[in-house]
Amino acid sequence: MKETSKTMSGGAWFAKGLRDGIPICMGYFAVSFTLGIAAREVGMTWFQAFLMSLGMVASAGEFAALTLIASGAGAVEMIATTIIVNLRYLLMSTALSQKLKSDIPIIHRFLTAYCVTDEIFGLSVAVDGYLNPVYTYGITLVSVAGWTCGTALGVLVGNILPDWASNAMSVSLYGMFLAIIIPPARKNSFIGLLVALSMAVSFLFSLLPVLSSISSGFKVIILTLVIAGAAAWIRPVEEEKT
């Protein structure tokens, strides 16, 4: 499987992307329902909320956007808050820039940029060798369909999902994260150590008095810089596998 992944055709990558997008779509659908309900409370129409989800594709980022719109914030405040809440995407795009062939047509850079969310990034960066962006587009197509429809439906009808269903779907995204980080952790004990340490420190941050008041977006940025930074210093990656 790992050997053949490098010789897969574009069509096969796209199909794999569509399939891998299904669990993301489910998770997004559940989360974006809540987002739609919040958008409705701010007074947005279903079309405005749909547009917001299509354009931003970010959970925390969109909740922040709703708060800003509701409070009648000015343009500068909107730009500043959007940058701070979504800064982790800068890191993800930086990591992803190294997964694209350097001579790839520039249109793929513009398109891939649109696809950088926590989940889609996680899948795309985990591919062996260079990333065929068509895979990312496949995931995004399915995921964003769930994300935008969920938001619009949230505005239109409120929460039509029974509680047990949305409750069960709420952990879908975390299951995906585990599927991305645990298999490499099994093969490489240093990565395993890193994953365990990251979870432990993240847990500490949620318990300790001052640290627990840090927003989750910032927590991700701070811990990523510190832990991945230290890891790169302690154990530099020897050989590029690509």
Partner: protein
Amino acid sequence: MNASIYKSLLIMIITIYMIRLLPLLFLRREITNKWLKSFLFYVPYVTLAVMTFPAILHASSSIWCGAAALVVGLLAAWFNGDLFVVAISCCLTVLVTSFIF
């Protein structure tokens, strides 16, 4: 009010897109600095681990359902690793345990 909502959305959509676009647009060559390369290699593992725990505990209606989903998810990812299988296992775990907790 409507015009200002569209204007606000446009501002934030452009801002968030720029955050995602700029690194992809300007970092076209392969980074040769060894530390930076290693750092970027470790980024996804740290980021996703930090985002998963302890957040998974508070995602569903009960901490115990979340904990059960975490354990099942870890086992499924360790022994199977298929994205869809792991995600569904976590969902089913919450579904079943939510009748208990």
